[in-house]
Amino acid sequence: MAINWFKYSAPSTFYGLAGKLTPWFAWPAALLFAVGLYIGFFVAPTDAIQSEAYRIIFIHVPASILSMFLYLIMAGYAALGLIFKTRLSSMMASALAPTGALFALISLWTGALWGKPMWGAWWVWDARLTSELILLFLYLGFIALQASIEDPRRADKASALLAIVGSVNVPIIYYSVQWWNTLHQGATIKMTGTSMHVAMQQSMFTVLVACWLYAIAMGLSRVRSIILEREANTQWVKELPEVKQ
């Protein structure tokens, strides 16, 4: 039996698939968030140096990891859309951008909340904080460019080019910021070399998986809205039961 590999690259077929898949990612995400945060807040022991304040790490680190990966995935989808002219890839890219920006914001916010008790300041110009801020700027640029172009095809292509240029620049920016930081100020407080407790690792890993599932669920449900919006004039959308009523 021949398998049609490209069946789900058409928005009309993917719409249904995404709708079926979303709960399969959303519910495990909610469950794992609950489990991971329970372990983080109640099972993991108090840290010897940072006492209770360190517990924000269980949100901070997964959010930072996600914000970086999502930019690359978004740029990858955007590039696919630009090169192979697959509409769905471009839609996926624009569906992921707000989630990525959200994670970047959460990462900055929790970083500031963590910095106050640890470093005594809401914000320090630490290399990692600064690069995260620039990453947020890149996300916002992508979203703003897409929002200001009315023709969706041009918006997809233009923002794809921007995402590709951005992802080429990300390592350059990262290393420049790091070098700038070491030039300007002495070593900021770093995580001490103490090995992490097993419960801490479990909690962080569980929340990380939950964040991934959440990002996928959000991406799928947002891409459904984008599909509906862009294909509003097609026959298959008009025949959908949820549109008809």
Binding site: G141, A144, L145, L161, G166, N169, W179, L183
Partner: protein, 227 residues
């Protein structure tokens, strides 16, 4: 019609843009005046202590250069877009990449080069030592073309959009951060008694990297915007 060589085409585009700019000198002067003004505002904002001014001069001049180069970006393609010249350029059998490079060079000569030339005067306002001023000029000479090149991509992407001026800054400024870091770093290294060679080398590397890729990417962006 005789065939144009690549350099002939490049020269033609540069000459045309320069000629057009000379007919409307006010545009060029506005950018320059903006640069001088922004730099002069800083001492008013932070106070006139010479020690502090000397310390922040490099950074202030670089940030002002960044802002004033953003100011002139929307003009890079918009006039040609409005009167239809850009369409003719894209239909021409010659390479669009080379023509875009020509426009970038012309844009730099009109918006970047004046900043390099006026920078020593502003440096004196901030009581910078002579060797730091020399390095500042060299760093600006290497860095401002990169600003025009990255900016060209942003200008091409936002061609003809409403609110394009603010949008282009939003897109381009984060990408210019490495230039800012190493440009200001070169000046600071000299003031701190260190060698600025590493910073200048990196700026040179950015220049070459941008020179290879940005005209092509900007040409692609123009094709997307003109479809």
């Amino acid at each position: 019609m005789s065939r144009l060589s690549v350099f002939g085409l490049l020269g033609l585009v540069i000459k045309r843009d320069l000629l057009l700019a000379m007919r409307r000198r006010a545009d060029v002067l506005t950018t320059l005046i903006f640069f001088v003004m922004v730099v002069s505002l800083f001492p008013l904002g932070v106070g006139p202590e010479p020690d502090m001014l000397r310390k922040m001069a490099g950074g202030v001049l670089w940030v002002a250069a960044l802002l004033s180069s953003m100011l002139s970006l929307p003009r890079m393609f918009s006039a040609d877009h409005i009167d239809g010249t850009l369409e003719q350029m894209m239909l021409a059998p010659q390479s669009l990449t080379v023509m875009v490079l020509g426009k970038i060079v012309a844009h730099w000569m009109l918006s970047g080069l004046p900043l390099v030339l006026i920078a020593p005067v502003l440096g004196l306002q901030f009581d910078m030592p002579a060797d730091a001023i020399g390095i500042l000029m060299l760093a600006l000479l290497l860095g401002t073309p990169v600003l025009s090149m990255i900016g060209a991509v942003g200008a091409a992407l936002t061609l003809g959009l409403r609110g394009g001026g603010v949008l282009v800054s939003l897109l381009v400024l984060p990408l210019t951060i490495p230039v800012l870091i190493f440009g200001a770093g070169a000046v600071e290294a000299v003031s701190g008694g260190m060698d600025a060679a590493s910073n200048l080398s990196l700026l040179g590397a950015f220049l070459l990297f941008a020179l290879v890729f940005s005209p092509f990417v900007a040409a692609q962006a123009l094709r997307i915007s003109m479809e």
